[in-house]
Amino acid sequence: MLELRDVQVAFDGFRALDGVNLTVPEGELRFLIGPNGAGKTTLIDVVTGLTRPAAGSVRFAGQDLVGRKEHQIVRLGVGRTFQTSVVFEELTVVENLDLAASFREPLWALTRRRKGVSEAVAESLARTGLEALAERPAGVLSHGQRQWLEIGMLLAQRPRLLLLDEPVAGMSKDERERTGELLTAIAADHTVVVVEHDMDFLRRHASTVTVLHEGRVLVEGSVDEVSVDPRVQEVYLGRRADDTVGERS
């Protein structure tokens, strides 16, 4: 479904991505980990059109993504969230979701008033558990609720591929747990790529993990395989091989 070949990105001589090869098959929940500066976010930026690769190809569902504009890539069915969640604070939760869901409408069709709640919006509300807050402005939401709203906005767009950049960063333990359940539920009918630092979260919810290091793919495999791989422990954790993976980088 998503395929990156020899992707290179350089910022002022610094190689953020140095020949990344990555294939994510349809329906998979893939976790992307790596120390700071490994290129995780850059990789998402490349897929979503925010950053142009210097070389290599990015293909999604048979289409070349390189050179397309951000909103065009979204229209192909690729959605993303950001590390710092951006919801529209002056709009209500429902309006945020409705705006996300209406993106395929032509501009003139948007000049009509919203009537009620569409099916996609209602489904997103239910999935993210934000029904009770539907009519409140998004500005009053807590950090965790904002992240869920963002994920809900993605879901309302019915994308084929979701790219989530550190969805549980800064969340409380309960919120992490709920987010993990939400991700597992979403992964049942979507292809999802999650960038995450949190090892504890990873072991609870991840199946397949790709480890990035210095702009390259270091290892790929199940959580168990990856967490005992000596190379991973060396670069990612800076620990001895017999120590278990247990803390955030």
Partner: protein, 343 residues
């Protein structure tokens, strides 16, 4: 439903029935002038208040509308000859640019389409390059300055610094007659009312939500699959069209159009008026233009030079103490009253 439209209906009755009956012709003419400015302010409220595009060059669009109308008026009076100022400038043949403006339909269409096309071209170039915020504001202000230089420099084509004045009739009606001026007033008030309702409808639609979203998180909107540049261009063009129409109405009401009426300073004054009235609310923008118009006249009648200082002071006071303007203060008071009544 009725309750929601009550404020608008009240204002409409006062503006359309009470004002023409109660105000003497001179004062009614002044109000008509302020309402023309209010139409521009409505556009600024849409583009800046809702869309976050601080446009300091609405005078350019206002001027395009005004000059289109003035050209038509001059040509009907010249009755096939040359307009007076061209004769004084030694122009011997009617410039080709002027010829189609003898047609009132063309002139009126150009008053709106000219600004719209200019805004679309400018918006497409600027918003695609992701120019925004202060850079966009400076760019529009530079445009206003350039427009004045262009108009002043083309004496034979535009009347130069003096602009165009001495208009006597519009569609066969004597512009000096009180009844004509009252009719013009009603047209201006009607146009403002219709545009206000249409803009309010737009703001309350999904498009309005999208516009606010673009204002508050343009990059995020891009990742929702919308093209912010398109949304901004369309909105900017709508505000430009309103300013153009306002300019076209202004000319027969006030009887003059000149570079001094559309340069940097008048453009800024309108933005200040919108800020004072409250840019986040459309009615605030409209109110701001009318209130500042009246204040300017009242103060200039008393102390000729004092107005500029007062206007500056008022702007500072509003920005520091009540950044949401008169409308914001009104909302706060209404909210307090409601909660006081509830307890």
């Amino acid at each position: 439903m009725i309750k929601r439209h009550l404020p608008f209906a009240t204002v409409a009755v006062i503006a359309l029935v009470a004002a023409p009956l109660l105000l003497e012709p001179f004062r009614l003419g002044l109000l008509a002038k302020y309402l023309c400015y209010a139409i521009v302010a409505l556009g600024i409220g849409l583009a800046w208040g809702k869309g976050g595009m601080l446009t300091l060059g609405q005078g350019v669009f206002f001027g395009l509308g005004g000059y289109s109308m003035a050209m038509y008026l001059k040509l009907t009076e010249a009755e096939g000859g040359l307009p007076d100022f061209m004769v004084w400038s030694g122009v011997e043949e009617l410039p080709a640019l002027w010829v189609p403006f003898a047609n009132p339909v063309f002139a009126l269409s150009m008053a709106v389409l000219g600004p719209v096309v200019l805004a679309v071209v400018l918006g497409t170039l600027v918003f695609r390059q992701r120019v925004r915020g202060a850079y966009f504001a400076i760019l529009t202000q530079a445009l206003a300055a350039a427009m004045v230089i262009l108009l002043v420099g083309q004496q034979g084509l535009t009347g130069g610094t003096n602009g165009m004045t001495n208009f006597f009739e519009l569609f066969g009606q004597d512009l000096a007659e009180d009844s004509t001026q009252r009719g013009l007033y009603l047209v201006v008030a009607g146009v403002l009312g219709v545009l206000y309702l249409a803009t309010r409808q737009l703001v309350n639609s999904r498009y309005g939500r999208l516009l606010v979203a673009v204002r508050d998180g343009e990059d995020r909107v891009r990742f929702l699959g919308y093209d912010p540049a398109l949304v901004k261009t369309v909105t900017f063009a709508a505000s430009a069209g309103m300013a153009g129409l306002a300019g076209a109405l202004f000319v027969p009401v006030v009887g003059i159009i000149s570079p001094a009426l559309l340069g940097v300073v008048p453009s800024l004054e309108l933005v200040v008026a919108v800020a004072v009235g409250g840019r986040h609310v459309l009615a605030g923008a409209v109110l701001g233009a009318v209130v500042m118009g009246y204040a300017k006249t009242a103060f200039s009648e008393q102390f000729a030079d004092g107005w500029l200082y007062l206007q500056g002071a008022l702007f500072i006071v509003v920005m520091t103490l009540a950044s949401k303007g008169i409308a914001g203060v009104a909302q706060t008071v209404a909210g307090r009253l409601r909660s006081a009544r509830a307890t």
